[in-house]
């Protein structure tokens, strides 16, 4: 148990470390782009000597050209640990941490709620699909779900944007809340937050729940054929007991495993959905930063996105032994022993993960 926890913690820390290193080197690797861009900007602004321009560029990028690379690296690490993610290159007075701090809750909120809803819908849908596999309902549902999983989440976002927001003005399409409400625990604000989150969350859910449903169906079908279910029946256990404690619980285990996987994917998807709905989360600011060449903000957002995913994965991994008393690492479960069984489900995981396992995860 301890070794399991230790290993998960180690991998989590290692991942964060790797990502931090990547971001460090990326900023260093492209000084050409960033530097020259900034230089040009400052030159255009005028009023600074070239030496001053160089100084300012270095300060903004956090480059100390005279210091050796490894020293810069440790400086960078120290800054990160202290929460200093630098300043926005576009608005030098805004700290990246400030931007990230404001954006993170929105992403966590929308992705978190979306994950819960699609998981719930998926479990219910999958069970129905498994229970009525041969009837019209089951087959129809399977067809619908197959269609839905083929649609990338950004396309759904665009469709929703087009139909509901812009054509028929049913729901707001921009921002996290209406500007004429004041933040706080008051009804207008909360209502506004909710109405603004409907479309973004719907975009995640519509495409993701199908994948969960297919997974659940596969899990239930597998468990239905399991010997211990038959054994339970042979002892005369009531059907409800068998469904709950024998079928249900064992079907859920692989689903919980996928939870961690899909989290990373959903957060990745937030990049698109938040951009289209101008929803001020991490993804939104990441893309903004990319398009305006604000590299420090971009790296800061990327870092925080990754760290949140790592932490969430760790949380799921820590939670897993509670569900499965055999205390097998869910990473081990995701692993090859079960993956190689091509028959039981290449389609593992929710939403477009199943359609896109490979590049974008």
């Amino acid at each position: 148990m301890i070794s399991y926890l230790a290993r998960r913690l180690l991998v989590a820390l290692l991942t964060i470390f790797v990502v931090v290193t990547i971001s460090f080197f990326m900023v260093r690797l492209m000084p050409g782009n960033a530097e020259s861009y900034l230089e040009n900007q400052l030159i255009q602004q005028g009023g600074l000597s070239s030496a001053q321009i160089q100084e300012r560029v270095n300060a903004l990028l956090g480059i100390e050209p005279k210091a050796p690379l490894w020293k810069q690296y440790f400086q960078y690490l120290r800054d990160i640990v202290h929460g200093n993610l630098g300043h926005s290159m576009i608005n030098p007075s805004t700290s990246v941490l400030h931007v990230v701090g404001n954006a993170l809750p929105w992403t966590l909120f929308s992705v978190g709620v979306a994950l819960l809803i699609s998981f719930g819908l998926g479990v219910v849908g999958g069970t129905i699909m498994a229970a009525f596999a041969d009837s019209f309902v089951g087959r129809f549902l399977t067809l619908v779900v197959s269609f839905l999983t083929a649609i990338p989440n950004y396309l759904i976002a665009i469709v929703l944007l087009y139909l509901i927001a812009d054509r028929y003005h049913l729901l707001p399409s921009q921002g996290a809340y209406s500007v004429d409400t004041s933040p706080g625990f008051n009804l207008p604000f909360v209502g506004s937050v909710l109405s603004h989150s409907v479309l973004p969350i719907a975009s995640y859910v519509i495409t993701a729940w199908g994948g969960w449903a297919l997974s659940m169906k596969g899990c239930v079908v597998n468990t239905l054929g399991a010997d211990y279910v038959r054994a339970a029946e042979s002892w005369g256990l009531r059907r409800r007991r068998v469904t709950q404690s024998y079928l249900g619980r064992n079907s859920m285990l692989p689903m919980v495993t996928s939870l961690a996987l899909s989290l990373g994917f959903m957060v990745g998807g937030s990049v698109f959905i938040e951009t289209y709905f101008s929803y001020p989360g991490m993804g939104f600011y990441l893309i903004q930063a990319v398009n305006s060449r604000d590299y420090s903000t971009m790296m800061g957002c990327f870092l925080v996105i990754t760290v949140s995913v790592v932490v969430a994965n760790l949380a799921v991994d820590l939670f897993y032994p509670l569900v499965d008393p055999r205390i097998v690492s869910p990473i081990g479960r995701k692993q090859s022993e079960t993956d190689i069984d091509v028959g039981s489900g290449v389609v593992v995981g929710p939403g477009p993960v199943s359609a896109t396992s490979g590049a974008a995860r």
Binding site: D227, A231, A232, S234, W235, S245, R249, L253
Partner: protein, 349 residues
């Protein structure tokens, strides 16, 4: 086979003492329509109270399917298409779900082949026992009494309660799980226990243990046991009565002495028995049966064993041989063997 005569006399003359389970023209098919495969094909047999009945045959002959149908546990794509199974006069195959649930475990229980997988991986054994006790409230006064009896049974199968109750099945060895499964099958004091290949998945030492346990349980609890096996040695040691299946049909049934020793035997059984090397006869030649079990989708015309049978004649392919019994109840389904015997033979189904 020293205990054979003991068992015979204990079982007295009539092979059908108070029939407890009657299988009547049972057919279990897999698949749809004309392409359906009949794993159990028109089988009729009877198990009497107090029998230690061995159902014998090669893999794929339908014996496991037959065993499952005794508790009406055949799952799709298999289904009972003909006939019925009666337990103490009640038709198991027509029972509703509630009746089946109270029957199973309490009056008729089963130990699965490879009990390795018979336990819910995420619950402790104790928890599962509690579920079973809760599902049959009439058997014990309360959970504590049930648990006490279970622990008593554990001791009979030579396990200590401490190492079983709070354990997850992944921590138990295969042999241990098999014994726990046996104990569980007896928990609710059923009158019949069906065991599917109880010794097959075990090593030799555990096999010995299980055989001894079964015999002592049989003698002390007076239960009726039906066990399925392909191991004739186990049959010789344990069984009082035998039923032999081949390619879905019952080809011979009788007491263990009749099946092993009678001159009038099905050629398949003859071959099986002679394939067992004898410790006493020293170096002999092992006789394997030539050929293979027929594909159930592509059965030979007439007698299914004919292509491999040393006694086969051309007329054997004309039709399926009926199961004919002599006065003692020993029944064989073979044209050639039955013809050569001039006892009064009665159709056994």
């Amino acid at each position: 086979m020293s205990t054979a005569t003991d068992k015979q006399s204990a079982n007295s003359s009539a092979p059908h003492t108070a029939p407890l389970i009657e299988v009547d023209h049972l057919t279990v098919a897999f698949g749809e329509g004309t392409r359906a495969v009949r794993a159990v094909d028109d089988v009729t047999l009877t198990v009497g109270r107090g029998d230690l009945y061995a159902l014998v045959g090669e893999s794929g002959c339908g014996k496991s399917t037959l065993a499952y149908s005794l508790l009406n546990l055949v799952t799709p794509p298999g289904r009972i298409t003909q006939g019925r199974v009666s337990f103490a006069g009640r038709d198991v195959t027509r029972m509703g779900r509630r009746q089946l649930e109270s029957l199973r475990g309490a009056e008729l229980s089963m130990v699965f082949q490879a009990a390795m997988n018979a336990f819910n991986p995420v619950l402790t054994i104790g928890r599962q026992v509690e579920h079973i006790l809760a599902a049959h409230p009439g058997v014990f006064a309360d959970q504590a009494e049930g648990r006490a009896y279970f622990e008593h049974l554990l001791q009979m199968v030579q396990l200590s309660p401490g190492e079983v109750w709070d354990t997850y099945e992944s921590r138990l060895s295969g042999g241990m799980k098999q014994r726990v499964a046996i104990a569980l099958s007896l928990l609710l004091k059923p009158s019949v226990v069906v065991l599917d290949e109880p010794t097959t998945a075990l090593d030799v030492l555990n096999q010995r243990l299980v055989i001894d346990i079964l015999r002592s349980l049989y003698e002390s609890l007076g239960i009726t046991i039906i066990f399925i096996t392909h191991d004739l040695a186990v049959v010789a040691e344990l069984a009082t009565r035998v039923g032999v299946m081949y390619a879905g049909r019952l080809v011979e049934t009788g007491t263990v002495d009749e099946v092993f020793l009678d001159r009038r035997r099905h050629p398949y059984v003859e071959a099986l028995v002679s394939a067992i090397p004898s410790v006493l006869s020293g170096q002999g030649v092992a006789h394997a049966i030539p050929g293979q079990v027929p594909d159930l989708r592509n059965l030979p015309p007439g007698c299914r064993f004919a292509p491999r049978c040393p006694l086969a004649r051309s007329s054997c392919s004309d039709g399926e041989p009926p199961l004919l019994a002599d006065r003692q109840g020993h029944a064989v389904a073979c044209f050639v063997v039955n013809e050569d015997h001039d006892q009064d033979l009665v159709v056994s189904q």
